[in-house]
Symmetry: D2
Subunit: 440 residues, 4 copies
């Protein structure tokens, strides 16, 4: 996580201020529950809320205490006592530090997931708008980087939309994976704390109780969370790579938006580099990499070891902040993407109509020409086109063997893009629902 690739809302989740605020809430809710159970005085719980609700926890002071105690939760509780007064001794009763730390981490991950889901929603909205805008903009479909058959630019974006809808569903599932709470004591047996405290805190914090915690919340949940982020990042990479390809000098079917003031555009007007999508390609590599240590974190020893902690201090912020940034950047790129239908058409025409050879072949066989003859006819007209000697349609129309089988209209029909686009609306309806179907 570095400032250059960070956005404030996500970064704030990982600040010490937020962390201490969440710790406070967990401790205060637990105290309330303990009071309800008669374990601690009601007034103590009230006092904790009263003094702490709007308190500003002094990060420097807590650090100072931690430098002595070498224990972050104790340092916080000590500081809390400075704010709350003697009633603070009723806080944290029967709890273990991990109850606070693990529940807090999950609250942070849930909030991070909420931002990521909102990011995807914004991206979906941009994709949808641009997809409809270019629903019928013809462009060449490419397999292996080689011209294949026509598609529409809207279809490309519809595919991205469908992919990010899946990303969204995965993020929702990932959020649920980590939306658990553990207030279960030293080794998870509730020996010193009633399970009803956990139930109370969980509800208050928007979580569900972890069925079996063992001091810690099991890390398969977090592994799944970060693995999901890696997959979502890979989809960011896919769309980024698509745009990078489209912006290549020889292709130039789309370009990242360049603000007026941006450097060097007009003396070298061609030198508009797809730096944003290249950047996201790199960011995706990072988010993906973070999935690995998250998976290695699962096999903690016995009831817990603390090897997961350093990993999570890093990838917690790094993965979520980076993916948030990438999603938001991608949304901006899609939203303002410069799209050049004329260049798409030029590229479509670049091969002199050869992209329709397959269809001509089919038309000839359907007209009764043998497969071998049809292939020969297509081939002898395709090769000159390939060498740059003429245009496929013209040559076909001038070939008597071809015209013996197909009328000029039939030949021309093979070059009709509408043939390829007749099911575009069907696909749009699949992706966007019935609203995707244009009015008739």
């Amino acid at each position: 996580m570095i400032p250059r690739y960070s956005r404030p809302a996500m970064t704030a989740i990982w600040s010490p201020e937020t962390r201490f605020r969440i710790w406070f809430e967990i401790e205060a809710h637990a105290t309330t529950a303990l009071a309800e159970l008669g374990v601690v005085p009601r007034e103590a719980a009230d006092r904790v809320w009263e003094k702490g609700r709007d308190a500003v926890f002094d990060v420097a002071r807590i650090d100072e205490i931690e430098a002595v105690t070498k224990h972050d939760v104790i340092a916080f509780l000590t500081h809390l006592a400075e704010i709350v007064g003697p009633e603070a001794r009723f806080v944290h009763q029967g709890m273990t530090s991990s109850d606070v730390l693990d529940t807090c981490l999950n609250v942070q991950l849930v909030r991070a997931a909420d931002i990521l889901i909102a990011d995807v929603d914004a991206l979906l909205s941009a994709l949808k708008r641009r997809a409809f805008e270019h629903r019928m903009t013809p462009t060449i479909g490419r397999s292996h980087g080689i011209h294949a058959e026509p598609v529409t630019f809207g279809l490309k974006l519809a595919q991205a939309y469908a992919e990010f809808e899946r990303a969204r569903a995965r993020l929702v599932a990932a959020r649920e994976e980590v939306a658990t709470c553990a207030i279960s004591g030293a080794v998870g047996t509730f020996a010193n704390i009633d399970p009803r405290v956990e139930a109370h805190v969980a509800k208050a914090m928007g979580l569900t109780p972890e069925p079996v915690s063992t001091q810690v919340i099991p890390r398969d949940r977090h592994a799944m969370f970060f693995a999901t982020l890696g997959v979502v990042a890979s989809s960011v990479e896919r769309l980024s790579v698509e745009i990078r390809h489209l912006q290549r000098t020889e292709v130039l079917e789309a370009e990242e938006f360049f603000s007026e003031g941006q450097k060097g555009s007009s003396a070298m007007p061609h030198k508009r580099n797809p730096v944003l999508t290249e950047n996201m390609t790199g960011l995706a590599r990072m988010v993906r990499a973070y999935a690995l240590p998250a998976m290695e974190n699962v096999a903690l020893w016995h009831e817990r070891d603390i090897s997961h902690s350093s990993v999570e201090r890093m990838i917690g912020p790094d993965a979520t902040v980076t993916l948030d940034f990438a999603l938001a950047r991608l949304t901006g790129v899609v939203d303002k993407l410069l799209i050049y239908p004329a260049n798409m058409q030029k590229n479509l025409d670049r091969l002199g109509g050869l992209v329709h050879s397959q269809r001509v072949l089919l038309a000839l066989t359907q007209a009764g020409v043998s497969r071998e003859d049809a292939y020969r006819l297509v081939q002898r007209n395709a090769m000159p086109v390939w060498r740059g000697e003429g245009d496929f349609l013209t040559l076909l129309k001038a070939d008597p063997e071809v015209t013996a089988a197909l009328s000029p209209e039939q030949i021309e029909e093979c070059f009709d893009l509408a043939y390829h686009f007749k099911h575009v609306d069907t696909i749009f309806a699949r992706v966007f629902g019935e609203e995707g179907r244009p009015e008739t």
Copy 2:
């Protein structure tokens, strides 16, 4: 995937025979749909089924043809024509090879997921049985490898059960991710094939149509699938590492079952190595590693490139076969795990009662001793125990400052395991449902 770590049912999914059988089914169902749409003669479709339904596809023959054509699907179709006769020319109309290949891959992955889910079910069943068997078997809970407070062995297994229930749910979701079908032609526009063919094939093969395919089914689905396998494998590693720890000479609370004939056990009776769980630890590393290339596969160029193919030819079998093997092996290990409650008790007692120091501290403060004094009292009785000079309970009972605050019964109570286990049933009920609650 190597024979040593493979089981036949999973391996069979990836055999050429199975692949060609699935290809046949896709092609035959598509032909049926084309016939229903009047595109090809009904008799052709019937003939394809009639001849192909029970045909044995000759792998060697297909390889032979592929050596010439350099194209696997064409080789198969050529061989199919040898079996079906001239009607075979109606097969594959308007389709592209990827329609067959990608749909087939997903059928294979779905079947693999079904086996993995069944594997997890078997593991869950073993875990549940053993968990109830040892619901109340006391054992020491360890954090950082250091004795913490008592838990029960059943709780350890209940935690594993809960974790593999999550693994199961993830596998079900992963299965759904890849349960899609694409029969959409060259670049996914249905230019040469009616979408209803896809719908027909999808239904017949137990899949749903891919909303937007672009010659290929998008690879974020497969990335999610393999990432999920990596997470599940990490849970296999966790339980394996737990067992390896328990089998250590100094711990010896459990052992992998050794068959009678197994080498070298009685001259060196201590030398029973947890080789199965060590083996699974390694296998988990492999399954996890396969998630990475699967994620890198997502960013294919434009409508498709074929870089994903070599990866999938490898990780398709490798990841599923290896995880299947590991899950089945783990089930066997759990099922027959030798569990030594006496050794657990011995380990529990090893520290002369020091694991109860926390509770004594609490009892003293609850009895009105100041925190500082309570700490001093516990400490002065704990240190001799730690040096091996006596037993904590005895020393406490002989300390007049302690007995001034606590009666002998109260002191003894601090050493009562029941205190720690009072919520075991609650946790079991959370994990196993009401059936988890023992009859009263």
Copy 3:
């Protein structure tokens, strides 16, 4: 490792036959050394060599024995006794199975490294030939996929040459990392075997003794080996991606060679897909992924655990066979790469000379025009070119403000490719040594 992506020489290293042959050599050399030390009878050692030197070890028989003993080395030794007779009891004295297994693995990895180094040599040779062939073939240099300034195609290949020379050096270092031998007994203390036996076997097998083995050879060596393969594979990917880009329809500066018989080329002459380089892109992902479990293998427990074994049974063959295949395939692709200088020139000219704008700017300032004015002049002539309205050189020559500062010759000079290529020979000499310097 799957047959489709395997070559026989590398695959043979990993066959059971090779493994048993290496085991035999280790055991026989060790027996010789033991005889020299007087530990076993000289005749026994002679007999082992005499009977075993040309023996064919019966893999099926060994498997049969292993099915009973559950121990591969014992199974082999039992079979060896069937061949050698009673003297076989002097074999393996004081050794542990790992002595044989680990030393064998390293022999296999060394042999694999030798093949990989030879593969790189063949690739270097092809790269060099093609680099010199196109030392002065102009082509556009691209940053961010956008035209930048001219380079030569030979420079591209010289860069690849330099990169694979580094790959070679890394493989040599990786080979050295694993060229060690351990014959040190149960926990590596030489309690039951003289260190001179190890020295003898090491020398005979072309290895050096492992300074400290602990039953096993430490796995940091293997981690480094497989990490190196991952880096080399990444270089394979880089050159593959370059070729894929060059073969794009819109670029078409180079193409993978297509054999005459290869399918579908002439009816769709444009549809030549870079399937080999795409395939290598995928293979690189796999080789890279194998580095991870190799690194996780390092932290074995205490003197050893066997979790590394399953990993190595997989990645040993998988990584080496796949990289060997990829390197050989890449050599073929480079060797027969179809290179199209005319298309390179066409692409160079595509922007109407705009790629020289930077140089014109420089020439103007050097001629005394202020930076602001120079920029304005370049810009006003560049923009029409960018819009497709004319050619940069012509426009500049017609701009009186430009011609006031620069003579027509000076303007033309800015468009001279020789300017860019004046140091090509210097770079070639750096890469290929003095032989790289063309005769004058």
Copy 4:
């Protein structure tokens, strides 16, 4: 990279201040070289040095300029001009931003490598001291976590020493991989800058010229660098895991040092958690993970794309700072490790002498007992020991069949640890050289 796991010297390498200082040096040295070639006035170069040598570059000011220009190098050069005055226009002539950025990155990585090498040296020194201290301290060797045969604690540390000597050599090689400089202009052709400038800067900065740069320095170098860090981190993990095992309650052969003031030690004297080594286990996971994106960075498009940049902004600091911290922490742990020979002896004795069963077996066969009989004898005496009924030596001495073959002295000899340690000096001499051989 987070403050908690960072050390100042390494962190400083990655500060903006250091970066701008290195940029200045590269630019100033290049200007000097240009002056020597007569391209720019000598006075300009002098002036640049004079004004810039001790200048403090104002990071906030540069950020301010960058906010407008959106270009970091231009922002720096603008600020430099503010310091140097009009002569600054002679700076950066013929160079491209990447010349500065890539050369700077390599300077930073070289400096980072120097620190890491020094870290390893400190670790080696600590390991050596402790190894000699415990050269002959007996401890049980464990395979699979199960007692095997005796080793010495010094041998464990000697193995770690040998492993980190390899780590050192790898870091030296990794340093060399990235110690290159590129000052080659827009696409690496030296079109606008003389290669002698590069040679001059390289020498001045302690680098060698990159043979072929293509605007950027090829990223296979960096991939190798970060992969090496991943391997070194895996060795950190290995030693950390060893210590974690030794500190387990049931083993307790060693402990991380606990400072007096550290929390909670005496009321629960057993609860000393190996938190430092657990922490390093997690850090190793991170450093390892960073190798992946570094490898994916290799395949940049054509002469360069900028996808590597975001990755390096993260892993440059993250990987080096984290590994530096881990190495230094490990050195501290080793240096102050509490080692408990008495507990080692207790564990050695734990199995009542069964760890010598293998040697008794050998002694019996050497005394002429048949293998079968020897096995039976060992077994019948081993089993009661295993069940806790007696001590192996006593039982053997009381078994008439055993004593018929072996004298009491011969039996006792089998229990002599010296037998196992006779080659310890040999191994020490291998690892530490002749100085490793104790004086006689």
